[in-house]
Symmetry: none
Subunit: 220 residues, 4 copies
Amino acid sequence: MSAGRGGGVRGTRLPRAVRERQMMDAAVHTFGRRGYRVASMEEIAGLAGVSKPLVYLYLNSKEELFTACVRREARALRASVRDSVDPRLPADRQLWAGLTAFFTHTAENPDGWAVLHRQARTHGEPFALEVAAMRDEMVARVASLIGAAAREAGTAGRTPELAARDMTGLAQALVGAAESLAGWRHEDGTVSARDAAATLMNFAWVGLGELLRGERWTAR
Amino acid sequence: MSAGRGGGVRGTRLPRAVRERQMMDAAVHTFGRRGYRVASMEEIAGLAGVSKPLVYLYLNSKEELFTACVRREARALRASVRDSVDPRLPADRQLWAGLTAFFTHTAENPDGWAVLHRQARTHGEPFALEVAAMRDEMVARVASLIGAAAREAGTAGRTPELAARDMTGLAQALVGAAESLAGWRHEDGTVSARDAAATLMNFAWVGLGELLRGERWTAR
Amino acid sequence: MSAGRGGGVRGTRLPRAVRERQMMDAAVHTFGRRGYRVASMEEIAGLAGVSKPLVYLYLNSKEELFTACVRREARALRASVRDSVDPRLPADRQLWAGLTAFFTHTAENPDGWAVLHRQARTHGEPFALEVAAMRDEMVARVASLIGAAAREAGTAGRTPELAARDMTGLAQALVGAAESLAGWRHEDGTVSARDAAATLMNFAWVGLGELLRGERWTAR
Amino acid sequence: MSAGRGGGVRGTRLPRAVRERQMMDAAVHTFGRRGYRVASMEEIAGLAGVSKPLVYLYLNSKEELFTACVRREARALRASVRDSVDPRLPADRQLWAGLTAFFTHTAENPDGWAVLHRQARTHGEPFALEVAAMRDEMVARVASLIGAAAREAGTAGRTPELAARDMTGLAQALVGAAESLAGWRHEDGTVSARDAAATLMNFAWVGLGELLRGERWTAR
DNA sequence: CATGAATGAGCTTTCATTCAT
DNA sequence: AATGAATGAAAGCTCATTCAT
């Protein structure tokens, strides 16, 4: 009943790590498109090319499987962004690099992004907390970039201070704007990651008021 | 060969319009907190103080009930924002008014906002389209405010023009930022609607760069 | 809220007998086409132009309503057949007249015939018995016609006797043949009541005639 | 957040083919006695000694289960009749054999016969068509036997011809008579299959014989 | 390593029936 | 004479989960 050729055929014996990856891929795909509740273990197992009990053997339960998906995708997104940012650059350059990486990664992993941004946040505490932590970390990172920019500008003493809370608010706004643009890109399809990042840098860094006066943010 | 017994005691025999409102309120509450799939009709009926069949009699099906919730909440949010904006004011003042109304309304109707922002967008085409239409309308409105601001600034000839697509991108960013701040307010609890609107006006209108130089957006 | 013109308008007050007739008509129509279980009281009440409670007030329950339908239609069919038969005629002429009336009546009252022949017999004892009684009566009537024919033929002594059971069997066959032809007519649509009756008389009576003369079919 | 517990005790872990048969048997029994709408999947599952979900796993839905029953019973009845008939025999002997087989089979499979004759025809298009096809086939077969008998009798030229429609009408009558006698046997209980077949052959064939010789019944 | 067989629990939906007016 | 308001009960179907092999 088993096939002699190996490779994707149902019943073929594969090392656990490989199987687990197949399952997670299938799960991210299915959860991302259908949603946590609508996706069934049957569907996921089928897409992974294994039987349901094997999924349970390796991943224990639907809840744990989904958690594993969320963690994996969160880790991957964080890594993409972190690896793209050189902390020795000025703050605005760091932000530019991070945003570009964010838009690139979400476009290349739409299902993973859907799991994080849409599904995990919608389906109750256990998952929402996981993803909230990641988002808070990003917000904090952006807030600290804003703080760094303030120091770079050397305006600390002369200008009304930006309280920590203000910076968090600004960072929240910036992250939300990025999420929104990621969705827009997804629908539109013709906007490159750099376009999106540029739009956001102009918006955030220069401000609409300046923009209208002809001011532009540039990478140099 | 006989069937249902019928005719219990629970109901206080109210006119249909009243009952329907109670049901919709219960549904928005439940859908907003538990999610479309997890919420059960039984739960909703119980919260509304009626039996399940009455919910079906008046609202037909879970899907229709949810659609009705989405429509009602979308209409309410739109009305709040629209009514707060005086179209004779300058663009930035209009935006300020709209944002304040948005933050106020979402804070006062957290369940309705959850239905629109989280649940409806997550649970498939029929609902997502409904809410996407409302959001697109808001984005278009913001984009046209940006266009109006450009004309007000009288910079049309001298400065690089903002293409329609650019304006849409900026508007998408601004709307996403607002959504994000609404969520932040919700968690934080100590940020007033005016604080949030001010943060966003500064962020968007003045730009981080200017902000750091001490520039501020003010209502005058 | 009530209309001033009377006649079919919901809410109009009509004498009980009239209302009851409307309800029965609607019920026969609905039961005949949709079946006892599928037909809902709501549907019947709607078709009759009244509210559900009124149906209950007059006819008590679905079961009683259906029983009333069965009785009414059985009575009508019996009456049609009985009234067409002149007991002073010879047996074959009586049968001919009865069959013609049967085919005419069932074609003119397809819903009633469906209630009797299809629905009542299919949906459990209480109704099936009712209709079985009517059918048995018809079978008995046909059997007695066969007996009469035997006496008319004056063959009682000379030929192998037709036992009562044989006559019942023959009558059962004849009645079944008539039911089958009624259905065939209904589908075909181009066969007149007289055609059907003639087909059956040829089939049955020519055969019976020989039978009565002592003819028998044998396996050799 | 966890759901079903699963994995009970009832099942004796049988191969699918066996279980499927048990379910079909239970379904035919239940549908035949209680009717399509009244029979519940729970009842059928219980009678088959399994849980409801297993019935759905194997047979998909109530409708498909019923269709499968109708098909199986139709196939079985057709096979019984077909296998009993030797096409090299004269027409009357073929009819005799077929009728005997029909009466035997329906008596041995009363539930299957009820499903075909009573339930399937009563419960809407999808099923009625299935069974109508089988019945039409039987009618056509009988009609062609009548045609063969006419040729055997060599009366083609001398006597008024029997048009195709006439033969269909006669076949309809004969099949209806057989159905009726099958029901009669079922109630009476003391009539053997051969008795019933003999009654019908006498009734039909002696009549047909005369018919083929040019005899006709007339209203005068 | 991997699967076929099996089920408890729960959900949406429908319907006959009744009460208060 | 007639109806709007309301519900208990049950049915079809799905799903996460487990046991035996």
